[in-house]
Every structure is written in C-alpha cells, then in structure tokens.
C-alpha cells in the first residue's frame, strides 16, 4: 500500500496509473537495488555486539573513507604521519564519490564532476597538478587543464517544449517576459559572483567558510531561495523551475526549503580561472569523482581497512578507543589511538560518540535527503528533435535531474553501448518518510518509474535498455536549510573533543561538494599535525 502511495506521489497521477497497468507482462530488466549498506549501518542502532576480541595501537584512526576521510589520510601521509588506520564500512573507499565499471566503461555511483577550482586554493591546485589534471601553468600562472578531463562539447541539453535545446537555462519556446527575467536573474548572480563583503572576503567563496561574514550576505541565510526570488520579483515559472532544478541538483533540496545564501552560492561561488577554461567549465571522467577518489587513495591504500563498521568512539585515559565490527567475521575489534578523525555524517558521528545531547541536536537540525542513482546500460536510443546526446541531459519539469552519459568522456569514435547515470533526489516528501518508502520499492517498480520519465525523450528506452542498477543513498547529503550556513551550529559541531577527536565531513561544511570534503580532511589532519608539533 505504501509503495503505491509513494510512486503516486513521485510521479504525475496519470503516469502512476500507467504503472499499475503496465507492470504486468513486461519483460524483466536485469539489475539490482543496492543501498549504501544500510543493513550494516542499522547494526549501529541495535548495539547487540559483544566486547572486542582484539586491540591494536595506532597513532590516528580515521573513520570513513569518503572524500573527507581520504583527503585527511593523504594529508597525514604527506606530512610524514604514516601510522594511521582508516576504517570504512563498505567494501570500497569513496563514499558518495564511489564508482563502478562494466565492459563498456566506468560510471559514477554518486558524485560525477567538479567545477574548475577557484583561484587561491593552493592545496587543491597542487593535488590536481600532481595528478596531471592540471598539465602545466601558462605564462600568466594560470592552470592549463588536461583536455581529456575538461567536459567535452556538447556539455548540456534540456528537453523543453518538445525539443532538445542547447544548455540548461530554459530558452526554447520561452516567452519574452520570462527570458527577460531569466537574464535579469543571471546578471544578478553574476554580480554576486564578483562581490566582496566589508571584511574584504568574497561574498560567496569555496570553501564556504572562506566567505565573507558581512551581515548583508549573512542575512540571506535566514530566508529560503524561493522567498528571496519573490522579494526580488523573480516570478517566472521557467526561472523558478530552473533555480529549483539547481538547488535540487547540488543540495538535494527544493528551492522553497533551501537557504537563499546556499541557493545563490550555487551561481556565485564558482570563480575558477584557467588558461584553457572558464569558471563555468567542469572537469569530469567516465567514473565521475571516482577518478579523484582513486588519486586520493593512491598513497594511502595500505592504510584502509574496508568492511569495518565503526560502532563506538570513546575517550579513555587520554586515548581514543575506536571499536569496530569486522563485518565479514562478525567480530568486534578495537583500535587504541592518540587521535581520531570522524569523517562520517553527523548523525552517525553523534551515535558513535554516544552523546545523547549531540544526537538530539542533529535530529532536530540536520535533514538528510535520500537520493536514488540509477546506472542504465543501453545501446543508442531513439532521439527527439534538437541537440544530440550531451554529457548532461535534463528534462524540463521532470521529477528527476535527468541523466549523465558516462561514456561522453571516452576518446574513441564508436561507443555503440552507453552507461547512463540517472539522478533522482527524493525531495517530494519529508526525508525520513521518503527514505522508508524508497527502501520498500522493488526493482521492477523503480524501472517502471524510470521508463515513464525517460520514454518522453527516448520512446524506445523500455525495449532497449539492457541493465538497470539502482543505488539508494539513504542519507545522501545534509540539506542547507536556512540557518545552516551562518547559524553557528556547524562551528559548534566542528569543535574537536579534548583535542583528540576531530571532525571532517561535507555536512559540516554547509554544502556537499568535493572541495569542501577535500578541505575538511586537510584541516582536520593539520590539527593533528600541529598538535604533534606542539608536543
């Protein structure tokens, strides 16, 4: 019953009826549904696990091997601190930036691109240079990006008014008045992009914590993006769709819930300069940010222990005791360390610390959107009129964010079969009900949902698709609700405990993007390195 209601809410009522009719007698599409090991994660809540069977000693334990954890590990390693262990519950590192592969190509399971880095992010630029993403610096000191990694043309297309237009900003068949509003909005955003606050800092920076705290910007964090748009007369439905698409895309948050500061940051945060690219260009790989994961992971691979669910972190006699479950052997083990970095989402961190107060605060203030990511294997599909298949393919007014073609960045001429990665943030109801309902939907029902969305643009998708693999991210990202960026809670939660337990995760950064994770990790690692130096 619940499944039915969910589907009905997720899609227009008409097409929901179509699902009911068409579920029977259809061919079964190969594939599976995988959650980010939610069943293992739930062990955490139950706490019926015994006492540790073994103890080892390490200088540092890192919990979680997402971008934040990997970046922390890399930083420790670079600074010569090599006695550390990274514990990860999944069988592979990467977290939200993990990737998969098949005989056609690699493909992302979550995060899939980064924009051209903002200037001044020296550690980040150094990292990209080391990994040949930046091949050199030109005469003006501007980075030259590896052309195999800059997103190839054609980059984006939008299916609107029965036609694929170039780019995602609605224009095809859009009335003049709306076009004017859209232009006005974009020029306002361009203005924000260049503005600096009274403290001399960029109004909107990456990482977010480098942004100006000038009150005129800070107060944008008190209202929603939708409110801000209405106050400023941006009422065009085409424009509102576009902005809502953007906030859902980057933050998994609808524009009527998203902080206006975060919403504007989406347009105004990027300031990258380059010899052969501009701030609006992006870097991408068939495996998405899995590429960056493999580079971060390179030097620290031997320190990563996968299949290890951390179940408790406590301070004992000046040491940090980290208990974890060896998932394969079902045995609890413990590591005794000088320091620990918690590179996990805050709702997990609070539970690990068994800090009731912290658990409560997070329950009240943090909301995590569930996401569904689908990898589709398909031969060439029938196309509607307009632009040819691009890297990012978006459908106007769809529940989904469209799909990215993972084979777009391949150099070869012929790619007869493709991996398409389809993104659907489950934002139509409150996160916890959406999460629960999503976990009950069968593979066949997800497939039908997908078909109903994509057959508008690829009428033959149902017959053509060969495999559909679904990844459910139950707590994909924390929402930047009003107050989250400048409310002070993030700073409070980022405070190290007793100088021993440190935090690094994108949900502490306010917005969930690669650069934030990268710097969260570096900053936490630096705290330990500085501490070691001061002792």
């Amino acid at each position: 019953m619940k499944r039915r209601t969910f589907i009905k809410l997720s899609i227009a009522a008409g097409s929901a009826a179509a699902i009911g009719l068409s579920c029977k007698g259809k061919r079964r599409v190969k594939g599976s549904v995988k959650g980010a090991s939610s069943s293992i994660g739930h062990l955490l809540r139950e706490q019926i696990l015994g006492e540790p069977v073994s103890f080892i000693k390490k200088e540092v334990v890192i919990v979680g091997s997402g971008i934040s954890g990997l970046s922390a590990a890399r930083q420790l390693h670079r600074k010569g601190l090599k006695d550390f262990l990274m514990l990860e519950l999944e069988e592979y590192a990467g977290g939200n930036a993990a990737s998969g592969h098949n005989e056609i190509s690699s493909f992302p399971l979550g995060a899939h691109y980064v924009p051209i880095p903002n200037p001044g992010l020296q550690d980040y630029l150094d990292f990209l240079k080391e990994e040949d993403v930046i091949t050199s610096f030109d005469g003006n000191g501007l980075p030259v990006y590896n052309e195999a990694y800059l997103c190839f043309d054609p980059e984006e297309r939008l299916f609107i008014n029965g036609h694929w237009q170039d780019g995602l900003v609605p224009s095809f068949g859009v009335p003049e008045t709306d076009l004017k509003q859209i232009a006005g909005f974009l020029s306002k955003m361009q203005q924000f992009r260049l503005e600096k606050g009274s403290d001399g800092k960029d109004a909107f920076a990456i990482p977010v914590n480098n942004s100006s705290t000038d009150i005129q910007y800070r107060k944008l964090d008190e209202i929603t993006m939708k409110q801000w748009m209405e106050i400023n007369g941006f009422t065009s439905t085409y424009l509102q769709w576009y902005v809502n698409y953007c906030t859902r895309d980057d933050f998994g948050t609808c524009y009527h819930e998203c902080s206006a500061w975060a919403g504007i940051h989406y347009f105004a945060g990027r300031k990258g300069v380059a010899s052969n690219a501009t701030y609006s260009d992006v870097l991408t790989w068939p495996e998405g940010n899995g590429f960056l994961v493999s580079k971060l992971e390179k030097a620290v691979q031997q320190n990563i222990l996968t299949g290890s669910l951390v179940i408790g972190v406590e301070l004992k006699e000046e040491k940090v005791v980290v208990k974890y479950l060896d998932v394969a052997k079902k045995e609890v083990r413990a590591v005794i360390a000088e320091h620990c970095i918690l590179c996990v989402p805050q709702f997990v961190a609070a539970r690990l610390l068994k800090d009731k107060n912290r658990v409560e605060i997070i329950k009240q203030k943090f909301r995590y959107t569930p996401w569904m990511v689908v990898n589709i294997v398909t031969p060439t599909l029938e196309e509607r009129s307009g632009e040819v298949m691009s890297w990012d393919n978006v459908i106007y007014n769809s529940q989904s964010l469209g799909y990215v073609n993972a084979t777009h960045q391949l150099l070869q001429q012929q790619v007869p079969r493709k991996n398409l990665t389809y993104y659907l943030p489950l934002t139509s109801k409150d996160p916890s009900s959406a999460r629960k309902e999503a976990s009950e939907i069968t593979h066949d029902e997800w497939v039908q949902l997908l078909i109903n969305d994509l057959k508008i643009v690829h009428p033959d998708i149902e017959d053509k698709m060969e495999e559909v693999n679904i990844t459910l991210w139950g707590h994909a990202m924390a929402q930047p609700l009003p107050g989250m960026i400048h409310g002070g809670l993030r700073n409070q939660l980022s405070e190290s405990i007793a100088g021993k337990i440190h935090f690094a995760h994108t949900d502490l950064a306010g917005i969930s993007i690669f650069e934030e994770g990268f710097y969260q990790g570096i900053n936490a690692a630096n705290k330990i390195i500085n501490y070691a130096a001061s002792v």
Binding site: E147, L150, D153, P154, Q413
Partner: protein, 507 residues
Amino acid sequence: MRAKEHSAEWVLLLAVLVIATCGLIYELVAGTLASYLLGDSVMQFSTIIGVYLFSMGVGSFLSKYLSGNLLHWFIRIELLVGAVGGFSAAILFLVFPLAASFQVILYSLVGLTGILVGLEIPLLMRILEHKVEFKELVSRVFTFDYIGALLASLIFPLILVPRLGLIRTSLFFGILNIGVGFYLLYFFSAELKKAGLLRVTAVVLLLLELVAFVLSENILRYSETMAYNDQIVYAKSSTYQRIVLTRNKREMRLFLNGNLQFSSADEYRYHEALVHPALSSIDNPKRVLVLGGGDGLAVRELLRYASVEKITLVDLDPEMTRLFRSQSILLKLNGNSLLNPKVKVINSDAFIWLRNNTETFDAVVVDFPDPSGFSIGKLYSTLFYNYLKPALKENGVAVIQSTSPYVAPNSFWCVDETLKSVGFFTKPYHNYVPSFGEWGYIIAVRKNKESWFQHLPSSLRYLNATTLQQMFVFPDDMKAKIKLQPNKLNNQALVHYFEEEWGKFLD
C-alpha cells in the same frame, strides 16, 4: 482424350517459352551484375554467355542419363531452375563481400542454371516424341525457345531492370519458373504418381521467393538505393559504419555513411596531393604512419618511395580494410597496396592507438572523414594533435586532410589554427578534385624546414613541380572570414564551423 493430348502439347510448349525466357534472363542478370560488381562489361558478358551456352551443352549431353518418369524429371528441373535462378541475384549481392570466392560462386551459378536449362529442351522433346511428328516437334520446340529468348532480351533492359532492379527481376522469373512447374504438376496429375513431395517443394519454394520478393521491395524502400544515382554494387553495415560502393560506366565510388570518400575516376588527384608534398620533402623516409585511409589508396602512393620500409595503417573498421585487401576490383584500384609486406594494418581506434603509441615516424598521413559530427570532431582536436606530435620524428612531416577551403574556409583554417595552437608549423594547400570540388590539406612539421619537395616521384598523373607550386596559393575566396578558435574537445569549434558552412552549401 485427343483434345487433352493436344492441349498437353501446347502447355508443354508454353513451358518451353517460359523456360527459355527465364534462362536468358538469369544469364543477363548474371552478366549485368558481374559487370556492375567487377567492371569490364565486355569481358563479363562474353565469359558469362560462353559459360552459360557451354553449360547448356553439358545439360543436353547429360539428358540422356535421365530415365523413368520423364515428366517427373522435367518438373523437378523446372523447380530447381526456379530456385537457383530466382535467388541468383540475391545470392551474388550477398556473397560479393566474400571476395575471392565471388567469381567461383558467380560462374557456378551460371553453370548450374545453364546445365539445368540445357537439360530441359532434350527432355521435353523426349516427352513429346511419341505424340508429335518429329519435324513438327523440332520446329515447334525451337520456335518457342527462340521467341522466349527474344522476349527476354527485350523486356530485360526496357522494363525489368528499370522497374524491378536485378534482385527482384531474378526472383520474379524464379517465381514464374516454379509457377510453371506447379501448373504442370496440376495439369498432369493423372500421369504423375507420388508427386506429393514435389508439390510440397513447389509450394515451399514459391512461398520463399514470394517472401523474398516482397521483402526486397521493402528493403529497397528503406535502403539508400534512392540516395545514390548509380548502381550499388556493395553495401554493408559494419559495426562502425555503412560502407557503400557504387559504380556506373565511368567510375566506382565509395561512400561511408553516405559521404563520398572517393571516385575511382579522380581519386589519384586527391591521393597524390595528400601524400607527395609531405613525403617528397623527407630525405629517405623509412617509417610512415597512416591514420584512417583503410582504402589503401594513400598507401599505394607511399609505396612509390623505395626507401619506405614500413607503413603502419591504423583504421577503425576491419570490414573496410578487409574489403580493400580482398576484392579484386578494389585491389586493382589500390595496386594491392594493403597486401604489400611492408604494410602493417591495425584495426583500432586512432585516438586510443595514438595515445598508447610509443613509436616514431618519418611521416604521418592523417586521412579521416570530414568533421561532420562530435565523434569524428575529436580526431581534429588539440588533444589529438598533442598525441600526434611525439609520434612524429623531429624532422618528420605530417599531413592532414582538412575538408574544402572553398566550401568551408572557416573549417579548413580552423584545422590550421588548431595545429598551430599545439606548436606545429603548418603549410596549408589545396587542389581541385572534380568529384569533391576544391579540396584542402595541411602539412604540419615540428620544426621549420628549409627545403621542400626535393624528391617528387616521376610518373605521377597529376602532380609535377609546377602544379605543386600552384597548390600553395590561396585566392581570397578560400580565406577565413572570422577569427577562429582552435578545435578543442570542450568546444568542438570545428564541428560547429563545419555544420554551418556545409549546411549552407547543401541547402
């Protein structure tokens, strides 16, 4: 009873007429097909007529070994002719890519039809020998035989080929043959015992040919036949592209995905211009790389340089290189170049191959199709040329086919701009190739050269010292009209220029 005898005779004589017509039609179909596919129509027609007539003789000779129920035999042969002849054109089209064995199959089919037709007249005469007076018999049978021949020779060129095409013509007469057999089965049912199997065979064959006939019409409707003015002699969709060869009286043309790659009438102009300005500027070129160019025509030109020791040809499509390594008429065109022991053919994606390549070459000939889409546009990008650079020796010379500077000046000069942006020194040039129009090429070197074109081979048909000099002069109408972007993977500038310019041209 007498009346029945009488009409039986006429039925059989009419059968002779049909058989004679059909037989000649099959022969004409084979002759026409062979001259389409293999060229040299005088040769093809005379050998096919020769083989056909000879096989008829063989058939007549063999007829004496047939005994028992002659009518039974007659119908059996009738059905066989219908099957073999009816499907002959379709079979020949299908097996043409089988290359060397094509001729064997062609002459086997012609021979078989000849033998079967040759069997029929003597058989018929034996069937009728006790029913009609001998002089009457001979006169009637042969009259009908020759009337049939006349009929065939008139309707074939006037009605059949233009209306039905070759495949359907032969199927149509196959159906007629079988129809006659079927009718005879019915007419002589009293005299034919145990003809059940024969009847079933007839029905099955009839159905098969009818289906093939209808389908061939269907296929025809969707096929590119309409798009080409000339007869298609070969068409195949490989994994990578649609390869179509057409021919008319003068020339043979190769199309890849509908785009003309060359015409046999003037391809030498293109390939001489593509290869010799670069190669003649290298002292003792030894190792040469060809990217694209699976037709082996550029390789043919390269083999004129005695110093060349090894040519590596990288072409995506194994079907292309196989075709040009095995089809006699294409081998004639490329002078067996791809079979030369100096030539190594690699079927691989050029971009990926070049990225992984560590070998260096004295010369590189880049002969890709025009940048008409985002996929092929990658092969003209800064990244591609960056990979090309280390494959070229310090003193080496590369040349790139770069579309028409007359139709698409922005596209042409964009390629030049792109090459320069990655540090090549360039020398753009052009010549006139009638089937393409004014065509452009760009020489690229890693460091500037002083002496050029020192070693031009003699006995070229188009290039000499004078024509060579002229190629480097660009009149104003072949110059770019705007400031051009280099073509990069993330802007595909060239594809945008190309679409605009050629789009306008073809409107």
